[in-house]
């Protein structure tokens, strides 16, 4: 009997199929990695196991018991523990009390703390390396220790199955090592472990097997190395053969003071470090791509440039620091973002959305600009009177880019323009970018996890990984020098 | 925690020491507690008028050499605060009697406490019949409570008496609709109306009761108008400005006549922007009306001292201090049971008429006796920003006048 068995799991949200016919199993003492880019459906699978989502069809068995449709607390008590990515401990309680909470039986009559529970909590805390901070409040702890609390809570009830969501997000290299050991220990204890993450690399040394998903479907399964070398996986993550059209950095006139300079920028969310000493620059007229997996820090970087979040370090535009400038002034000044979440005005028509980008334009300029945009994205012209919320994902993405372009930006930041889009739509957007690059001298800063999409346009590429820039160079050298760190 | 408590204790202790003096033997002052709603127009006159009476008595040497001392409490229109104040008045400040509140809710909450703590209490303004009914139900326990103002039932009879002269006899009116807010005090009032209006020759076409939270009176007036009565007999207190203004703006062609407590306020004209013109309302006093020889001197003294006219509860509160003082004198002791007997023997001409309490045999024992020779009340009308008295004829200082939109006697 397997500890965890998924068979034919399908989950639909309205017309969207988030997971289709997924089957896998994990035995006690085994670690399975579940990977896939954003929107691949891995979270849906995880939620279905937890009982947060009810599967549309298929079966989820824990220790042979069918649990599909059960409420979460019953599944948990049957033997499923979960390490959440975002820890939300009780802030007024100590670390020990937080762990003891996970050991408390689900009874209304447990009014006094049980000494045996406390002893057990202590023992668990020791195992995950928290014995030094038992009596501290979570608010005073470093981020890694908060993750340890989550880990302790997940194994407190001695579950047969443990789900771990993005275990290494926000951790430093050393902490990552320590965390890997803790997870390996679970395997040693005979638990079935399911690690959910974006890519194989982070868990290559840890997982026994890897199960890869893409747009709701299984694309590969096997030992980590085999999955990393799998053709389909490589295509999804790295794309096929590339033709690049990069221009050398010396081709740009503002070599001394680049248009945009980011220098040693640090960003923290609570105690998790989202950017660590990040430096990059973009020249006037240059097309720069920042590639990195989801959670690497791309959006954080762009939000820092747009002034939306506080940061340490310096960001300069044409040599002048942007510190203290309001996000709206930065945007009004010409650094405009087409954000990852699109941030469209969903109940307004396409025309009205575009008009919102034309607030500072004169009437004549506006028409001229519109004509140019319709030339770039003919689809938008057809959809002019339709409300933005009813557009397809690809059309929404075009509108997002067009709305940003409407403002006549000096620098446009494109954050994950291909997220969740079908290949054919990606192709259309790619063509539009191509034309943009060829027909105008616009400056572009593109953030992508889809390397295939990013590299053909880029003059230079930065690779962002775990909050740091780990590689910089022309796109032509990417595959051989940085491709391996990427899958 | 300690901190705020010490503060509270300290402040209140100061207040207490300023008010309470030790109880001495024979020349100890007669202490009267006054519990009132100081922020409300009607309530604020109560402690002021009582103080005026006490000052007058003390200026003349007090009662048998004993001064009257008042202890005032503000109940913020809250029963809970009034109960607290009553407890303090009796247990702490050792008052001999309490004058309490114009709100029925508050007086009814205090009534059992008067019984429990065996202390004479008299209200200068509450209207609920239940107060006296409770006394009738359990005289021995509740005999400490006196109803120093007109009960709803009495008010109904006074309204009928004046309606007979002013509406039926003068304008040959035959039909009426009763319009009252849905409240406890209007239940006996409406019952009284339904009983006495037919007796004076006014057929009651309907009784319209509406929620006291009503803001839009359009449906109510339309409904009434549809019945084509000659007159609307009112029973309103919680509302007043709103129905009056809408009566005017809708040009309801039927006169409003009856109880309208807010209309007795001197600010009513201003509050309604003059829509009050023509409104007829029952009152126990009116500007410049000498109901008894004591009325005008009281009003003048009050005006001089406090800069405004007293509310209806001010008149009664003023009288009640005198009544208690006389009762103490008659009883010759501070014994509460004797004081009750002495109060029951009250026959006093005050500012609103001659006051006598109904005897034990009456279902409204300790209520005021009404009718000719006792309290008849007045009937006033707002005319050009002034309250003019129209009834009874010997006290009238003006003639009845209606705004143009009111079609008296023609609405058939």
């Amino acid at each position: 009997m397997k500890a965890l068995e998924i068979e034919g799991l399908t989950k639909r949200f309205g017309g969207l199929t988030a997971a289709r016919d997924i089957s896998f199993s994990v035995e006690g003492g085994e670690i399975l990695g579940l990977i896939g880019p954003n929107g691949s459906g891995k979270s849906t699978v995880m939620k279905s196991i937890l009982g947060v989502e009810r599967p549309t069809s298929g079966s989820v068995r824990i220790k042979g018991v069918e649990v599909a449709g059960w409420p979460p607390h019953k599944i948990a008590r049957l033997g499923v523990g979960m390490v959440f990515q975002h820890s939300r401990p009780l802030h007024r309680q100590t670390v020990l009390e937080n762990i003891a909470l996970a050991l408390t039986p689900d009874s209304l009559w447990r009014l006094l703390p049980d000494p045996a529970t406390m002893a057990k909590a202590r023992a668990i805390a020791e195992r995950v390396g928290l014995s030094g901070v038992l009596d501290r409040k979570p608010a005073t702890l470093p981020f890694a220790d908060l993750r340890r609390i989550e880990l302790a809570k997940a194994i407190a009830r001695d579950p047969a199955v443990v789900l771990v969501d993005e275990p290494f997000a926000g951790l430093t290299a050393r902490e990552t090592g320590a965390f890997s050991e803790l997870i390996a220990e679970m395997r040693h204890d005979g638990r079935a472990v399911l690690i959910v993450d974006h890519n194989v690399k982070s868990m290559a040394s840890l997982a026994d097997r890897v199960f890869a998903m893409y747009v709701g479907e299984r694309i590969a399964e096997g030992p980590p190395q085999a999955v990393m070398n799998d053709e389909t996986v490589r295509r999804v993550y790295l794309g096929g053969a590339l033709t690049t059209a990069s221009r050398p950095e010396s081709a740009f006139k503002d070599a001394a003071t680049p248009f945009l300079e980011v220098e040693g920028v640090d960003v923290f969310y609570d105690r998790a470090q989202a950017l660590e000493k990040v430096s990059l620059h973009v020249h006037q007229g240059e097309f720069v791509a920042v590639v990195g997996l989801n959670g690497a820090g791309k959006t954080t970087l762009f939000n820092a440039i747009s002034g939306l979040i506080p940061y340490r370090g310096v960001i300069r535009r044409e040599g002048r620091s942007l510190a203290g400038v309001s996000p709206a002034s930065i945007a009004a000044g010409g650094i405009v973002q087409a954000p990852e979440g699109r941030d469209l005005f969903t109940d307004m028509t396409v025309a009205e959305n575009l008009d919102m980008g034309a607030l500072r334009l004169k009437a004549g300029e506006r028409t001229e600009r519109l004509d140019w945009l319709f030339d770039l994205f003919p689809r938008l012209k057809e959809r002019l009177r339709q409300t933005a919320g009813t557009l397809s994902g690809g059309e929404q993405q075009m509108l997002t880019i067009a709305r940003a372009l409407m403002t006549k930006p000096d620098l446009i930041i494109l954050d994950e323009p291909t997220l969740g889009l079908a290949p054919i739509v990606m192709e259309q957007i790619s063509k539009a970018l191509e034309r943009l690059r060829q027909t105008t001298d616009i400056t572009v800063l593109l953030g992508e996890q889809n390397v295939t999409f990013a590299l053909p346009h880029a003059d230079r590429v930065y690779v962002l990984e775990h909050a740091r820039i780990v590689w910089e160079g022309p796109p032509g050298r990417f595959a051989e020098e940085a491709g391996g760190r990427y899958i | 925690m300690n901190h705020s408590l010490r503060g509270a204790g300290f402040g209140a202790a100061l207040a207490v020491s300023a008010l309470a003096t030790p109880v001495l033997a024979d020349d100890a002052p007669i202490k009267i507690g006054v519990i009132a709603e100081n922020q409300a127009v009607a309530g604020s006159s109560i402690p002021q008028a009582a103080q005026l009476a006490a000052d007058e008595i003390n200026a003349k040497g007090g009662i048998g050499g004993r001064k009257i001392q008042l202890v005032s409490y503000d109940d913020h229109s809250s029963s809970a605060e009034a109960v607290r104040a009553f407890q303090r008045a009796v247990n702490e400040d050792h008052v001999n009697a309490v004058i309490a509140s114009y709100a029925s809710e508050v007086v009814l909450a205090l009534e059992p406490w008067a019984a429990r703590l065996k202390t004479v209490m008299i209200t200068p303004g509450a209207a609920s019949d239940v107060i006296t009914e409770n006394i009738a139900k359990n005289y021995e326990a509740n005999k400490y409570t006196f109803h120093g103002y007109l009960t709803s039932g009495s008010l109904a009879r006074l309204v009928c008496a004046s309606a007979k002269d002013m509406m039926v006899d003068a304008y040959k009116m035959k039909t009426a609709v009763v319009m009252s807010e849905d409240a406890a005090w209007t239940k006996p009032l409406d019952a009284g109306y339904l009983k006495c209006l037919p007796e004076i020759g006014l057929k009651v076409l309907d009784e319209v009761r509406f929620s006291p939270n009503t803001t839009d009176f359009t449906p109510i007036f339309n409904k009434i108008e549809g019945l084509k009565p000659d007159v609307i007999i009112t029973g309103i207190s919680h509302v007043g400005v709103q129905p009056t203004v809408q009566w005017k703006s809708q040009q309801v062609p039927i006169p409003m006549f009856g109880i309208s407590s807010q209309a007795t306020n001197s600010t009513f004209w201003k509050d309604t922007n003059g829509a009050a013109d023509g409104v007829l309302f029952q009152a126990v006093s009116g500007p410049g009306v000498a109901v008894t020889p004591k009325t005008l001197p009281f009003v003048d003294a009050f005006q001089k001292k406090f800069g405004n006219a007293p509310s209806y509860a001010g008149y009664t509160a003023y009288d009640e201090v005198y009544m208690i003082a006389e009762a103490v004198k008659r009883a010759g002791s501070m014994d509460e049971a004797k004081l009750v007997t002495a109060m029951e023997a009250t026959d006093y001409v005050g500012t609103i008429g001659r006051i006598e309490f109904l005897p034990k045999s009456d279902p409204h024992v300790h209520g005021l006796r009404i009718g000719k020779g006792y309290i008849t009340g007045l009937f006033l009308q707002w005319q050009d920003g002034k309250q003019v008295n129209l009834w009874p004829a010997d006290l009238a200082n003006g003639k009845i006048k209606f705004p143009a939109f009111v079609k008296v006697g023609s609405a058939k």
């Binding site: 940003a404 | 009503t214 839009d216 449906p219 339309n222 400005v241 203004v245 809708q250 922007n273 829509a275």
Partner: protein
């Protein structure tokens, strides 16, 4: 006849409810704030207009202007002194700010109410009417004031609709209500947007308050019930949906008028309350609510 009466009377009171609720829902829609001092602001407008008329002898129009002005100033104070402070503070966790804004605006409303009671007593007051007299409408004698009230309400609502859908500022407001971040990213300062919303809100609440004072009369006690009524209508219609609020205002207004005519004026409020409870159980996001 009765049918016409119900139709006409219900229309006026419903229009007033609609105008009162529109500002409330606008503020919620654009800034996410449930302003529990709403009733206090409306009463301040009415009492301000009343005071201008009876103390300083202003004419009807000038009084009304004073009332609206008073409301506008208080609305800006609500935003500047309370709401903005709470929105910007880092001492309170984001997820707790809602309850803090609710509590703070509630207290602010009580302060306004008590200040009015202190300065002008808690007697009910009526604002000098701009038009007087009556007209016959389908055999129903209707006060011109009632028609005037309905008319102004609709002019104000239509004006708001035009402003939102036809003007640049309006478009920005609309956009901000759908996606505040999107507006920022296009170079518009949200703080200015919010200021504009509060100005519009203050004017709408002011007009509603003055009309209420003119048509029905208000006292400082009305503050709480007015807030509760706006809150109910807005939730019934679906939070943040202006058209939902308009529909809900008419549902409540007519339900109350029907009850008053056909059952008894004493039970006026009850059916509307019960309806609200039923809607909350059956369709928790309100009639036209999106979330």
């Amino acid at each position: 006849m009765l049918g016409w009466q119900i139709l006409i009377d219900g229309f006026a009171i419903s229009s007033l409810y609609a105008l009162g609720a529109t500002g409330f829902t606008l503020i919620f829609g654009v800034t996410g704030v449930l302003n529990l001092s709403h009733g206090g602001l409306m009463v301040a407008a009415a009492v301000g207009a009343w005071a201008a008329g009876s103390y300083w002898g202003f004419g009807a129009l000038a009084s009304a202007a004073v009332g609206v002005g008073a409301c506008l100033i208080l609305a800006l104070a609500t935003y500047g002194l309370i709401v903005r402070r709470l929105q910007l503070t880092t001492k309170i966790r984001e997820e707790e700010k809602e309850i803090f804004i609710l509590t703070a605006t509630l207290l602010w409303g009580i302060m306004i109410q008590e200040a009015i009671a202190y300065l002008f007593t808690n007697n009910a007051k009526t604002v000098l009417p701009i038009v007087e007299g009556v007209v016959e409408l389908a055999g129903v004698r209707t006060p011109k004031n009632e028609l005037f009230t309905a008319l102004i309400c609709w002019i104000a609502i239509a004006g708001l609709w035009l402003a939102v859908n036809r003007s640049r500022v309006g478009k920005i407001l609309l956009a901000a209500s759908m996606n505040p971040r999107g507006v920022t990213l296009l170079g518009v300062e949200l703080s200015r947007v919010y200021l504009a919303v509060w100005v519009i809100y203050g004017a709408l609440a002011g007009v509603a308050g003055v009309l209420l004072g003119m048509f029905l009369g208000v006292s400082s006690y009305s503050a709480g019930p007015l807030t509760a009524s706006a809150f109910s209508i807005v939730v019934l219609g679906g939070l943040g949906s202006v058209s939902g609020s308009l529909i809900a205002a008419y549902v409540v207004g007519y339900l109350e008028t029907l009850t008053a005519y056909l059952i008894s004026p004493a039970y006026r409020e009850i059916p509307a309350l019960l309806l609200l409870v039923i809607v909350m159980y059956v369709r928790p996001r309100g009639l036209l609510g999106r979330r």
